[in-house]
């Protein structure tokens, strides 16, 4: 790797360190109890992660988030792809989506809790709702943009309509779908925390707001760091997966050319 390359891979790390430094200085200057220094917050992390109860809470959150996300992906991709290829499906779901789109999904939480209780089901449902729309939208756009001649080529090879959907529309729309999934992943994290903030029972969001109630500010900020780190790790891991899946659609420069 060149010096430039090293710099490029390390730049997010520098950004993090810079941010923490600014935090540290600002907190020292302000010197209020509700704004602990970065070091204090970092010092509080091991005690949270070391505590079995807290750790189980956080893992519970991740489990709910994963279930909501996977369900949303399984529902949204087929729906979006169908909307992109079949006019009737699009004209049925498009107005529906336009109504649902601007509603903050977390705002539905109280009603959902009323109907389904404060347990996992409600929280997973809210995550599902929060994540679905961007994935549906991107799958729809990707599917609509599939070149018709590509489908004609498939039809001439004897592929049935469902086969063309699965083996032409899906791969052709994959780059767009994965862009939607990336947005969905971050939204899942956000909705997960929000849902736990409303339905206080367990989870990472619950730890955060409980410690806020008890004025344990270093724990509050430590939790924010943990959740933020989770977001960064999930996003980076997904980005790696995404790039490996859609290498073929990247511009020429990004791809090593080789004669083999």
């Amino acid at each position: 790797m060149t010096a430039r390359g090293v710099l490029k891979t390390l730049s997010p790390l520098f950004a993090c360190i810079g941010l923490l430094c600014v935090w540290q200085v600002a907190s020292l200057r302000l010197d209020t109890e509700s704004f602990p220094t970065a070091l204090e917050a970092i010092k509080a992390i091991p005690s949270i992660l070391g505590d079995k109860g807290s750790l189980l809470n956080i893992l519970d959150s991740i489990r709910r988030m994963a279930i909501g996300l996977v369900l949303a992906v399984m529902f949204s991709i087929p729906l979006g792809l169908l909307m992109g290829r079949i006019k009737a499906v699009a004209s049925f779901f498009n107005p529906l989506m336009m109504i649902i789109y601007p509603v903050p999904k977390a705002a539905l939480m109280p009603i959902i809790m009323l109907w389904m209780g404060v347990g996992d089901v409600s929280k997973i449902l809210v995550i599902f709702l929060g994540v679905s729309l961007p994935i549906i939208y991107h799958a729809f756009q990707g599917s609509k943009a599939v070149e018709e001649k590509m489908l004609w080529s498939g039809a001439a090879m004897g592929m049935s309509a469902p086969m063309r959907m699965l083996r032409i529309v899906l791969p052709a729309a994959l780059p767009e779908i994965l862009t939607g999934c990336r947005t969905g992943l971050v939204l899942a994290l956000i909705t997960m925390i929000t849902s736990e903030m409303i339905a206080r029972q367990s989870g990472a969001g619950n730890i955060l707001f409980n410690s806020l109630d008890m004025a344990q500010y270093d724990t509050v900020f430590a939790m924010i760091l943990i959740i933020g780190a989770m977001g960064i790790v999930f996003d980076a891991a997904f980005e790696k997966l995404r790039l490996s899946l859609v290498r073929w659609s990247q511009p020429r420069d990004d791809m090593p050319l080789s004669f083999t």
Binding site: E147, G158, P171, W248, S249
Partner: protein, 281 residues
Amino acid sequence: MQVVSLRSDAHAESDPLSGRKPASAMIEIEHVSQRFQTSGKQSHLALSDINLTIEDGAFVSILGPSGCGKSTLLYIVGGFVQPTDGVAKVKGKAITGPGPDRGPVFQEFALFPWKNVLGNVMYGLRQQGVKKAEAEARGRKLLEMVGLKGYENFYPKELSGGMKQRVAIARTLAYDPAVLLMDEPFGALDAHTRTRLQNDLLDIWDRQRKTVLFVTHSVEEAVYLSDKVIVMSRSPGSIKEIVDIDLPRPRKRADLLLDARFQKYIVDIEKMIDDGGKDDL
């Protein structure tokens, strides 16, 4: 002149006197018209009352100005577009949709960008359940034929226009359709590759006796390759003349270029395209 004027009804019928059936028709196009809805409430007549019979094993080229409906006619035979009026038949049966008996090579290539070159060429065979090793062997052979040996692992994004065109041709040849529907397949090629592929196509056609419907803008190419050249005119798209090319086969380009009959066909057809088509490009 060898010009055969357009028959009012191109339907092939058996000769009642001799009782002998004429060479069997592969494709019959009867009173086909195609109207497209354009923006607003207007419509555009892209094809008007096309009648055409293409015999089994014939090589037929279509010439005509841009926008005269050549691609549209090919799509109708391919079953991708249903004509507004009339019927198109293949082997006597009305065409209701695409099928592996008619292989298209599109003007826009339409390669699968997520598959590499070899994957594209193998695709049709794999869909039809051919074993991987067999499909791969056939794919490699075809790629060698179109001059793309060594590019098996390239993705369509990494290919030039001419290379994409050759992959598209190989992809369609791979599943061995009885009818080839080729829409300006050599349009983006350099003169050298073009000549080579013309000869390869003639070779394949000769050996496998495919029926070829071939759209081109090059009069010379049409005369060189075809048994029949169809000259179309625009607004509305219709058949202007059908010219039988009565040149011996197998044809050698070097011989033909010196052949006065070959030259005369070219000049005659160029005149037809020019006539009343001054504003047509």
